[in-house]
Symmetry: C2
Subunit: 263 residues, 2 copies
């Protein structure tokens, strides 16, 4: 199949950008930068400067930050560690699901932590590494506190059921793995359209064999879905005029991507 | 210490933004979106639509992509799997370093792979997981091919020496761990200024104890440095007018972030 060379941004189903807001243009060399003394260490083989003279974040104060951090709510971006609001199971929830949560919530706090969630899911034949569990928790709470309540537990459970059935549908030979082509279809069926290059990168990252199999097992499929879904949703939040381009400050960029990088 | 509430973007040492290009403004509600039928599955508990109707990436063709992928060089973004150019050791390189590379490069190809790099580094008391090795390779080659040559090997080696000495300098009590305050100073000495919130997120992500110690060991310190350095540099490439804000298309955003996923 011929592949269009310069298709405008893979805009995940967005309407074409309006003519007054052309999509961010690629392929142009950056203008000559005004950085006469960039604060970055540009040559990794050179030792760093002993004293940092750059601007940017306020100069460190002696003793800071051994003093308590400022209240996190003071950030204009909201806290990445915001507490979770207590919740209840939606009416009509399967009683087995309720009791599995209650068994996991040993101290009866109404919340379960990462290890308790891992255990609860494994009783449903859903075995995940703690990293995947952390990604799941982040996805359904939008905070990094690593606690979930009944409402989020229900969402986690039904999403996993759904993703499991999608995985099984595309794992036609029941090998326990799906290849790049099947991953692409699976992501499409979840509403995510990724380019062949992104697809390649996803397979290379989530293939446990380090690229030999060019295929993804179920647990890594879940990580992959959570990553694509999460990053796309975060991007969409910033792409307020739906042009296929989004602007980030440095701070927002870091707070957006870091939760997905290491779980 | 009081912490300014609304300091303009943590601009990693950038000059103040010009008045004609105000930094991307936060705290404003997004305008009402025109998404009448978003292609995203917005409610994770709902099953996905069976047939995907969204636009975006070209409609799948029957059989695609079991046919060979289009040449990756056709992407306007360059290939994330570009081959590495063969290189030689810089004149004057420590002969021990040269011979350690030659020992690792068993087939004499002039390149070593991830496992060979892992072994070579461990002979210098630098023990890393394959995940960290992959991040190192990406950082010094800017591709995901997972091969490095003499030039990159030299850079990896001297950077690790440098980062080791920075780590040791800040690990004052020789505990093998540095805390948040020390991490902040260490990143500053590398030229990276991160906000307390980003710092908190970094510590929570890279702390092997899952947040109990609030401290980072040497190998995770390397992952942390590579992540902060890499993301900041990628951001800076997009922030061509040095305003502290950067625009990404969806494709560029995904291709920027995915290589840093530690999978």
């Amino acid at each position: 199949m011929s592949y269009p060379n310069n298709t405008p941004p893979y805009n995940y189903g967005a309407p074409p950008p309006s003519s007054t807001q052309p999509p961010y243009s690629y392929g142009q060399p950056p203008p000559p930068g005004p950085y006469s003394q960039p604060p970055y260490s540009s040559d990794p083989t050179k030792p760093p400067k002993d004293s940092y003279q750059g601007g940017g974040y306020p100069t460190p104060q002696p003793g800071y930050p051994s003093a308590p951090y400022p209240p996190q709510g003071s950030s204009p971006y909201g806290s990445p560690f915001a507490s979770l609001v207590p919740s209840a199971f939606p009416p009509g929830t399967d009683p087995n699901l309720v009791s599995s949560f209650q068994m996991a919530d040993r101290d009866g706090s109404g919340f379960i932590d990462d290890k308790e969630l891992q255990t609860a899911l494994s009783s449903y034949n859903q075995s995940f590494s703690l990293r995947t569990v952390h990604l799941l928790m982040y996805h359904f709470t939008n905070t990094n506190t690593r606690k979930i309540g009944p409402k989020e537990y229900t969402s986690v459970f039904y999403s996993l059921q759904n993703w499991r059935s999608i995985f099984d549908r595309f794992d036609r030979d029941r090998s326990g793995k799906i290849d790049a082509s099947e991953l692409r279809e699976a992501l499409l069926s979840l509403g995510f359209s990724v380019s062949p290059i992104v697809l390649d990168l996803l397979v290379s990252k989530f293939d446990k064999s380090g690229g030999k199999n060019r295929a993804i097992e179920y647990d890594n499929f879940i990580e992959c879905c959570l990553t694509v879904k999460g990053l796309t949703e975060k991007f969409k939040e910033k792409d307020t005029s739906y042009t296929g381009s989004a602007s980030f400050t440095y701070e927002a960029f870091m707070l957006t991507v870091l939760p997905f990088l290491i779980a």
